[in-house]
């Protein structure tokens, strides 16, 4: 059974692994330079990266993020949908192998290949990017490079890409099994996987590990703040905790209770025309601080990286297993 699965799967597998290998070679060639640079420059590495290495940083990020989606769409969705579309499942299901074993071989081999591809990519990219990640975590500027905990970079580092790939693959298989048509299954797989990858960082990931909380005074020369929404919201930037991921912000009033930013702040910042001057802003911020307002920031510290990685890995692998169970149920009860 594994022979047949492999015979049908090897071309698709070869294409993805060729891309992964090409990227890995490029990273292996350029990576040592970056490490050397970090050894001499430390956190100021972020200002000394060549433009080609900067491009490579983003390419690596994109490839790791893309591998699970590609695997789900091009390996997972057609895996069974194509058989159902061409009727070859009738051929397969009438050999001396039960449908469940047929599914198990397909899911097993496919998921193993998907996890290997994502794992190798993530390993190569995480290794190559580690000097930059360390520089950022050590206090380097974050305007060009993401902290590892940032939602964009988090899914492109460590072990989560492996679980993402397993999940995307099984999701594709399940959708192909239910939808029974290759192209619609591929499109739905992409849409659903993208939706999950948006939902998890926004609503779920921040709850997977205990968050830290700090209260910052609002004062000129203190933690840098952004003023948003016509001065109705304040966002503080957590510069003294580098590499952290801020998950929520709340302004507190003098008695320490959550409160909206008072309208006096907006009034203070109002000008006849154009933006307020820096002195005016500092004055208004000082006034707000004098009223006792503070900013509470909830964040995941950089040290929680691996806790979050393993927790999210478990979450996605659990989802993948549940979907595999669904496929097994469906193929016995519902499929024809």
């Amino acid at each position: 059974m594994i022979w047949l699965t492999w015979r049908q799967f090897r071309t698709q597998a070869a294409v993805v692994f060729a891309v992964v290998a090409a990227l890995a070679v490029t990273l292996a060639v350029t990576g040592p330079n970056l490490s050397d640079l970090y050894r001499t420059a430390g956190s100021s590495l972020v200002d000394q990266v060549s433009s080609s290495d900067q491009s490579l940083y983003y390419v690596g990020l994109l490839v790791v993020l893309a591998v699970p989606a590609v695997v789900g769409m091009f390996w997972g969705a057609p895996l069974i949908a194509r058989e159902l579309e061409t009727g070859t499942h009738y051929l397969a299901w009438n050999q001396g192998v039960t449908r469940t074993r047929w599914l198990a071989a397909k899911l097993g081999l496919g998921a193993a290949a998907a996890m290997t591809a994502a794992g190798l990519t993530s390993l190569a990219v995480s290794w190559w990017s580690s000097p930059l990640d360390r520089a950022v975590n050590g206090g380097g500027a974050t305007d060009t490079y993401f902290p590892r905990l940032d939602p964009v970079a988090f899914a492109a580092r460590g072990v989560v890409p492996v679980a993402h790939a397993a999940f995307a693959f099984v999701l594709g298989v399940a959708l192909g099994l239910v939808i029974r048509r290759t192209l619609p299954a591929m499109a739905t797989t992409f849409a659903l996987y993208a939706a999950v990858q948006i939902v998890v960082p926004i609503w779920i990931r921040s709850h997977l590990a205990a968050a830290d909380r700090t209260v910052l005074p609002i004062e000129p020369g203190g933690a840098p703040i952004s003023i948003q929404d016509g001065a109705r919201h304040i966002i503080a930037h957590l510069e003294e905790v580098p590499g952290s991921w801020v998950t929520s912000q709340q302004t507190l009033n003098a008695s320490g209770q959550p409160a909206p930013v008072p309208s006096s702040f907006a009034d203070c910042l109002r000008t006849e025309s154009g933006p307020p001057t820096l002195q005016q802003v500092d004055g208004c911020v000082a006034d707000l601080g004098a009223l006792g307002y503070q900013q509470q920031v909830t964040y995941q510290p950089a040290g929680n990286f691996w806790v979050l990685q393993w927790a999210e890995t478990g979450l996605y692998l659990g989802l993948a297993l549940a979907l595999a169970g669904f496929c097994a149920w469906w193929i016995r009860r519902r499929a024809t």
Binding site: G87, Y90, W93, N94, Q95, G96, T98
Partner: protein, 298 residues
Amino acid sequence: MSAVLRAQGLGKRYKQRWALQNCDLDVPAGRVVGLVGPNGAGKSTLLKLASGMLTPSAGTIEVCGGRPAAGVEQLAKVGFVAQDTPVYAALSVADHLDLGKRLNPNWDEAVARERIRRLGLDPEQRAGKLSGGQRAQLALTLGIAKRPELLILDEPVAALDPLARREFMQDLMEAVAEHELSVVLSSHLVSDVERTCDYVIVLVDSRVQVAGDIDDLVACHHRLTGPRRDPDTLPGGQHVITASHTDRQTTLLVRTDTAVHDPSWTVSPLGLEDIVLAYMTRPADAVRDTRPALEVLR
């Protein structure tokens, strides 16, 4: 007499529509069974139920003494060649034989190789490049070389030209004789069935109209022609399948186990095609009023 296929109250529903209902069958082993009926009558559904590709919505079905596709042993007993004889387009002919060898416990490599050689198929050719007839032969080869007790074929020749159709059927019959297979094959052409089968099941409008040995069916169906009269006045043992009247004349197609002695009738024999067509053209309400499965067994 052991049954190769036995169904009781078998039915299959897709959402609201019954594709097959109230199907009772008891097909003896060692037969070549033709399943005939118009398109959409439920032939494919019955064959997919028999091969375990579908599970029943009602009733039971037993094939070679077990529940279809219940396990490896059961799978080995039944071969199924699906409609349009699907094969893996990207795999070569040799790959298909390899697949059969690896996946089937009773695989007969010698038979498979011999058939491919005799059919003149190039083992290196990709199955996607085969003609319709060659593809059907490849699918049949896989079905035969797994050495099943029962081989089920769903419209195996529907897409073939007349010559390929004849070759395929001849080839199938040779294999049947050689390996002592039971066969159930569906077709919407009675002529295919008449030439190759010795047992027929007529399926119309999701119900079994008649099932039985072809010789028995031919022996007990007659065409009666005579002066116009009401079919209800016939003796009890004679069942009217179809009736047509002109001003003076009545023509009946009847099923009866006894000889027709009434001298007012001219009795003429019927071919299988006439009988099957009579059951197919029977008014729909006549079908629903009576118990659908008229089993003819002796």
